[in-house]
């Protein structure tokens, strides 16, 4: 059992939790993820590692409530325990595996969107701990749904915030902000890391391809076991099929087939929608609505 030591509401249905998980805390690295299963009947849900404390044996996770599985996770309070918490899974961030001296020569820009801000945080924190200053963009639709801004400000060299509606910081999305930094503010970057909704990563990668900046994205597709056994998380990357859980989760953003990945992401949409209705309202929906069959 894995005890919840802290629970905090961030914004926009996004929650942060500290979990007692000494084995994971001891060995995890920025860029990796965990799989959480609340109880006997729960789903195995892949979640981002946002932070960790090796000495205290604590792993910080951040998740957004989107379906039945995450709704169930959110019901747990401080002092409760999740039945299963396994990891770290996937590979560490490509950048932190590079020699620090090499990294110091790079100009790195992190672009985060929504709940994707959480996996960026430990990478930027790691960079600061190793004396590497990096730029970070946090993009959000509007001010109220932005997360981890203060935490990120403490570890980033420069933090840029962008909102679609202009309610806070730069008016525009992540791509607009990149264009502004590179086009108007004379910034140059040798590397971009984009983590967020697939649609955001798709457009950031499209832009950076035009700008000629190598770009890493972190994929979070549907998964079951997370150890390479099921192949549910497969992605087309260039002319190869890759498993996000064992080959990723990071990939070359210029090679990922995002359109296919987004279609695969929607595979269980009608099943999930029905499950959510059952969860919220009981047996009220029996098909025939035209949205599901």
């Amino acid at each position: 059992m894995f005890k919840i030591l802290k629970k905090e509401y961030l914004a926009n249905n996004i929650w942060l939790m500290d979990i007692e998980a000494p084995r994971v805390a001891k060995s995890c690295k920025p860029g990796q993820f965990v799989i959480v299963k609340a109880d006997e009947r729960g789903e195995r849900i892949p979640l981002t590692i946002c932070d960790y404390d090796r000495e205290k044996g604590i792993v910080t996770i951040v998740f957004q409530v989107v379906g039945v599985g995450t709704q169930e996770l959110q019901k747990y309070e401080v002092g409760d325990s999740y039945m299963d918490f396994v990891g770290p899974l996937g590979n560490a961030s490509e950048l932190i595996e590079m020699p620090v001296e090499e990294l110091k020569k790079e100009h790195i820009l992190f672009v985060c969107g929504g709940v994707g801000t959480a996996p960026v945080y430990p990478q930027v924190k790691w960079m600061k701990e190793h004396g590497i200053g990096v730029d970070v963009i946090i993009g959000a639709r509007t001010k109220d749904i932005m997360i981890l801004e203060n935490e990120m400000r403490e570890v980033a060299e420069n933090l840029y915030v962008a909102t679609d509606d202009g309610s806070y910081g730069f008016k525009g999305n992540g791509c607009d902000q990149i264009n502004d930094l590179v086009g108007n503010q004379g910034k140059t970057y040798t590397r971009v890391v984009a983590i967020g909704p697939m649609i955001m990563m798709k457009f950031v990668a499209k832009l950076t391809k035009e700008l000629g900046i190598p770009t890493i994205v972190s994929m979070n597709p549907i998964m079951v076991d997370g150890t390479g056994m099921c192949g549910a998380c497969r992605l087309q990357v260039g002319d190869e099929v890759k498993f996000a859980c064992v080959d990723g989760p990071e990939f070359d953003g210029h090679l990922v087939d995002f359109d296919q990945a987004m279609k695969r992401q929607a595979m269980y949409k009608s099943e999930e929608g029905l499950a959510k209705l059952r969860y919220e309202e009981g047996e009220t929906h029996h098909g025939g609505c035209g949205n599901c069959d």
Binding site: K37, V86, D225, G231, Q236, V241
Partner: protein, 462 residues
């Protein structure tokens, strides 16, 4: 009960029409009267061939004699000397090509139903509350076992009986490996059989820690150097599912058999009160002809689909057990033989709408000795399916081999280990089961787990 010595006592099964709609076990097993009658057919050979056909060399005439005398407890302890999982083996071992293939009764008539008798003993012993015999005292040595499938459970059970303190590390949230995630309920009941056998192994003193991925959460070297284990056995299983590499294979509705079976068996996706979803499919093609393909097909059928097995060779070459093919046919699975997929079609949303196949014919024998399937030019045709399940075997998982210093792998990326004692290229590290051989059977993995337990014991007693 009257016995014709040339004919085996038939075993009762659920009616095919009924069982096609439920997940209850297909085979109902022998009762006391049937088992004792079948036991009388054993010739009690002085030089028993059946024992030679068994990968773990169970004293088969010995346990059958006890069954004949009505002593189930005695029979259980005879088997227990050789096998930690008799209720599993009695169900999923390919007896027809092992012990029963060698039975002298088989020369003129039916071989003795060894598998069904083993199952009877294990099930009856469980109902009677008989437990395996535990070691009298611990010997002070610790062994780590990676993976709680058939190889790991067997190795752990044998070592515990010898007085070792054994901890099994399991990557998933539930113990059992392929017995839990792979083989369906209707062939191997989970709570009644698998969980009970795992409890028996635990009753020998074996600890099981779930949610630990060796190679990620910790490593083989850390187990030896930091966690104080004197030896490690790797029984991590097969690994990554293979796909064909044909166009459309990443479409929504194309699954590996591993994924489909894991959702259904381990995650219990077809149960209303479990959260994991599964797309049942209305018309399903299962590509492949092994036991896993049969399991996936029969699962899809029970979830309500029309199911086709698509296999590139002919019926004779089907690698699945004859019993599984027979059961699948009885239940209404359609076999599209000498047929090979060439591409998968999708709609705009990326969902499968059909699969193009080509007819095959058999040519000259290949390296496997089976006749090589050759495409019949211009014979492409399309079958309308909404779900495709790829059951083409697996390739080894690199998680452990890539994180363990000095552990050699072969060109197929399987861990290299001695067949007789499981010793790998690294001191104190042993391996067996699918991680070494590539995908094989439950009993072969158990045989390897057993050999490694012996190897570890010999090494640690030095």
């Amino acid at each position: 009960m009257e016995v014709d010595v040339l004919k085996r006592i038939p075993v009762r099964e659920q009616d095919p029409k009924v069982r096609a709609t439920n997940f209850e076990e297909v085979c109902l097993g022998y009762n006391k009267e049937e088992a004792e009658a079948e036991a009388t057919r054993c010739l009690q050979c002085k030089n028993p061939q059946c024992v030679k056909g068994c990968p773990v060399n169970i004293d088969i005439p010995g346990f059958i004699k006890e069954v004949g005398e009505g002593n189930v407890e005695g029979a259980y302890h005879v088997i227990g000397k050789y096998s930690a999982l008799p209720a599993v083996c009695g169900r999923v071992c390919p007896q027809e090509s092992q012990c029963e293939a060698k039975c002298i009764r088989g020369i003129k008539g039916d071989p003795v139903s060894i598998g069904k008798l083993e199952r009877y003993v294990a099930d009856t012993a469980r109902e009677m509350g008989i437990k395996p015999e535990k070691a009298e005292s611990l010997n002070g040595k610790k062994v780590a076992v990676i993976g709680s499938g058939p190889a790991g459970l067997t190795c752990a059970g044998d070592l515990a009986k010898l007085g070792y303190e054994v901890t099994i590390f399991e990557a998933l949230h539930k113990a059992g490996g392929v017995l839990s995630y792979g083989i369906p309920e209707f062939r191997l009941p989970k709570t009644r059989v698998v969980d009970a056998e795992i409890e028996n192994v635990k009753s020998l003193g074996v600890k099981i820690e779930t949610n630990v991925v060796i190679g990620k959460s910790t490593t083989v070297d850390e187990l030896l150097n930091e966690e104080g284990f004197d030896a490690v056995f790797i029984g991590s299983g097969a690994g990554l599912p293979r796909f064909m590499g044909i166009p459309g294979e990443n479409a929504n509705g194309v699954f590996s058999a591993n994924e489909y079976l894991t959702r259904s068996n381990l995650m219990k996706a077809s149960c209303e009160d479990y959260d994991t979803p599964i797309i049942a499919g209305k018309k399903v093609a299962v590509v492949g002809g092994g036991n896993v393909a049969m399991d996936a097909a029969r699962t899809a059928l029970r979830l309500g689909a029309e199911v086709h097995i698509v296999y590139r060779r002919s019926e004779e070459e089907l690698p699945a057990r004859v019993e599984e093919v027979h059961h699948a046919k009885e239940e209404g699975i359609i076999f599209d033989l000498l047929t090979n997929p060439t591409q998968i079609f999708t709609d705009d949303a990326g969902n499968v709408t059909g699969m193009e196949c080509i007819r095959m014919e058999l040519g000259e024998p290949d390296e496997s000795g089976r006749r090589r399937p050759v495409e019949v030019k211009g014979s492409e045709f399309t079958i309308a399916v909404d779900t495709v399940i790829m059951s083409l075997g697996t390739s080894p998982n690199p998680l452990i081999s890539s994180t363990t210093e000095g552990l050699d792998i072969n060109k197929r990326k399987c861990i290299v280990a001695e067949e007789t004692n499981g010793q790998t290229s690294k001191a104190k590290v042993y391996a067996g089961g699918d991680a070494v051989t590539g995908a094989a059977t439950v009993i072969l993995a158990m045989g390897a787990g057993k050999a490694a337990a012996k190897g570890i014991d010999e090494f640690l007693r030095k």
